[in-house]
Every structure is written in structure tokens, then in C-alpha cells.
Symmetry: C2
Subunit: 238 residues, 2 copies
DNA sequence: CGTGCCAGGTGCCCT
DNA sequence: AGGGCACTTGGCACG
């Protein structure tokens, strides 16, 4: 009979390795708390000197190394990586290898404070609202938030230089390219819009308007918009 | 005397709350494994139905909720958030509040499989090489990787529309704007370069060259470069 | 697969 | 605090 939870304080290295191997084989989520060094080599390269960290190995092949601060793991490997755990000179070693691109994490634990193995049952997936797609939906449902007479035609319309959030026509029949941002727009938002407008202009001689839609816009982005005769439409959602 | 590690399997809700409160007060890192629902409200909004997850509360105020898959937490709050743990109708509740922007996480645990509290000592910070800054360093040290006669002058040079990675002059004394990417360059990389070149051109009548430096470049990015008479220089580092 | 792009992006640095 | 941007960005959707 397989227990759903295994949790052990200050295990011997041998016992820790045993638990972790079973955990990996059994598609369980493993948690290690201990003192370790971490080496990474792949797209970049890193070294992390000795300190206490939380290490999580997920059954999908993700590996996380967390320090006591920050939202981000200090080291990691994404889903699909292969984990190996073994003993070397009396120390627990956790290795993670990702292929394409090849990336390796090497963790050497000088001390293991805790090791746990958990069978996590989770069929639910998160429901999010307030995303950019929701804003686009609003505009398609109520085009007047852009301006009177605006007709949205396509969403995610592909051009030579990227995909247009919303393509439509205004009251006077002019082409309108809309780039939507769910947060404050910045220089790169304007660059995007500019790329799409340029792309559409390459394929027509008719006038093409470009409108950046966002709850706010940085000062320099506004300047950049103006210098290219692009427009900004403030749209507060939520 | 305060123990550095507290780990408890299947604690009663009362005991779990007690341990977690002490953990938060004592600037320790807390780990909860249990069955829960998660509600989030802030920049966006989300709901996550009942399932088994790993919850981490860090002493800097970060909160992470991890599912059994993916590198990313399904819900979180960044450093600086305030955590509260209490009992409600016999269930353990974990709440996290961030101000500016106001964001709240509400976790209701129907079952706690494990709770742990750890004093993590960690003075080390990660050393990373192979970053963009390293590539810029290489170019300053060996400007000939760009081309014979190139002279880099400034890095991170501010313009109206953003900061130029490297500004310099070529053999013939023409201004050169360089945008560096440590990985394959895409449309947005070209847009950036274009913005900077445009910005420099606004302040001079002399010719201004723009060079995108990267290990590779997407096909459409290449087209976009060409259409604006910008150049691509392949630079493999590492 | 590569390409493009959003993300509750996060984190860093500078003004 | 706001701006600009890199990140081992991650993750997804689409051709």
C-alpha cells in the first residue's frame, strides 16, 4: 500500500535518496529543505554558494530551487526535465537534465533538514478574468468604446510583421489597426502598433489609422505615438 | 529555545494555524501541502477549484501556490505582502494582501497533509554568466567582432525613445546604434533598434547605421531589418 | 518544430 | 514612484 504523504525530518543521506527515488518513480511531488550549492549550465551558466533552500521536484519534470526571498526560483528546470538523485561522498546529489536546449542543474546537499513526498491529486485548472482577451471581447461587443461608427472585423489578423489585435474600419471606411494593452502602454506597445500599421500600409494605398488602446500610457510612449500620427484611446476595464 | 525545523504530518487545523502563525512571526519559511481552493483579486481575478497544492510563505512576504506541474506558481503574491492565517469554520485559511497595487489571495484548506516551518540561513547570492551584459562587455573589449574599425563609445545611452545598448562610430566616422540580444532576435528586437536609430536621426543630419547583434535572427525579423536598411551581425558567444 | 506575443509577468537599475 | 528593459523569461496558440 502506498501512502500519499511521506515526510521525514533530518533523514540520513541514504534514506533521503531512497525516498526521493521512490517519489520520482511514483510520479509524486518531492520537497527537500536543506543546505546546498547549485550549479547550472545551459542557455547561461550560474553558481550559487552554500545556503539553505527549498527544492521542489514535480512529477512533470519541473525542478525549482527557492531561496527564502523573492517570487522567482533562484534556479530551475522546466517541465520535461529528467531528475536523478544519488549519493556521492556521503552527500545527496540532485541532478536535473533538460534536452533541447540542453540544460543541467547540479545540486549538492551538505545537509538535509527535511524531505517529503506527496501524491497531489488536482484536476482543476485556474479560471482567470481581466485578461487582454477579455478587453478585446469588450471592444467587439461594444465597438463604441473606441469611437462612434467603429466596426471591428478581425482579431489576431496576421501581417508580415506580426499579428494585429483588432482590425476594423472607422465611420469613414478607413482601415483601423488596434493594439490592445491591459495595462499601461509603453514604448514597445507603440512599436508594435507601428509595425502593424506599416505592414498594412505596405499592402494598400488607402489611409490606415493606428489606435493604441490601454488604461494608461507613459509620457514617452505618447510622444512616440504623436510623432507617427498614431492615436491613443483610454479604455478602463473591470 | 527555537528549533530550526518544524515538520508535522496531518496536523489538526488548530495546530497548523499555530505553527504557521509562529512561523510568520519568526521570519521563517512555511510550507503547506494540502487540499485547497484559491481566490485571487487584484490586477486580474482568478478562481481555482479544489485540489492538492504546495503553498510556500517566505519571510519577505512572498506567497507561492504550486500545482503538481509547471514551473510557474498558479497563484502568488510578490515580496512585501502581508500574510494572515486563521481558522474559519474549522478550516485553515491563508490570506495574503499586497498594497499598491492592492491584490489579495484567499486560500481555504479543506485538508492539511503537511505543514513545515524552516529557518533558512542563506547569505549567498547567485553568480550568473552568459547574460546580455556579458555580450556587451565582449563587444567593448573586442569591437572587431562587429566589424573592423568599429569604435564603441557609450553603453546604455539614453534617447528620447529608450536606451541604446551600444553607441559608437564606424571606420568612416558614421554613428552606429547597436542592439544586443543574447538569444535569437525577433520582430520586437528590430523594433527596438528602429526606435533608437530613429531617435538618434532626429538629433542629427549625419547618417546613422543600426546593427542588430545576436546569435540568430528570425526570418521575418530579417525582412523587417532589410526594409529599414538595418543590419544584422551574427555573434555567437560562450 | 519555429514565430509571435501575452503575462496578475518578475526583477534590476536608473532618474 | 515611474520608466525602460532583460530574463536560463514561461506559457500558449497557430501555421
Amino acid at each position: 500500500m502506498s501512502r500519499h504523504t511521506i515526510a521525514l525530518e533530518s533523514p540520513t543521506p541514504e534514506r533521503a535518496v531512497e525516498i526521493l527515488r521512490k517519489s520520482i518513480l511514483g510520479s509524486r511531488t518531492s520537497i527537500i529543505v536543506g543546505r546546498c550549492i547549485v550549479k547550472y549550465r545551459g542557455r547561461a551558466e550560474s553558481f550559487l554558494g552554500e545556503g539553505d533552500r527549498v527544492i521542489i521536484l514535480k512529477p512533470d519534470g519541473s525542478l525549482l530551487v527557492h531561496k527564502a526571498s523573492k517570487r522567482e526560483p533562484v534556479n530551475w528546470n522546466p517541465p520535461g526535465s529528467i531528475h536523478r538523485v544519488y549519493l556521492k561522498e556521503g552527500k545527496v546529489i540532485v541532478e536535473s537534465i533538460r534536452r533541447r536546449p540542453r540544460e543541467t542543474i547540479f545540486i549538492e546537499l551538505s545537509e538535509v533538514y527535511f524531505v517529503g513526498s506527496f501524491k497531489l491529486i488536482d484536476e482543476e485548472c485556474i479560471m482567470i478574468t481581466g485578461t487582454e482577451k477579455d478587453v478585446v471581447d469588450i471592444i467587439f461587443r461594444s465597438p463604441e468604446v473606441i469611437e462612434k461608427g467603429f466596426k471591428p472585423l478581425y482579431r489576431e489578423m496576421s501581417t508580415k510583421y506580426g499579428k494585429i489585435d483588432i482590425f476594423g474600419v472607422d465611420e469613414k471606411g478607413r482601415a483601423v489597426v488596434i493594439e490592445v494593452k491591459r495595462r499601461k502602454a509603453d514604448l514597445s506597445s507603440v512599436s508594435q502598433l507601428l509595425r502593424y500599421v506599416e505592414s498594412v500600409r505596405e499592402s494598400t494605398n488607402s489611409p490606415v489609422r493606428g489606435i493604441l488602446v490601454a488604461p494608461d500610457c507613459s509620457a514617452s510612449a505618447r510622444l512616440f505615438l504623436k510623432s507617427h500620427n498614431l492615436e491613443f484611446r483610454k479604455v478602463m476595464f473591470k
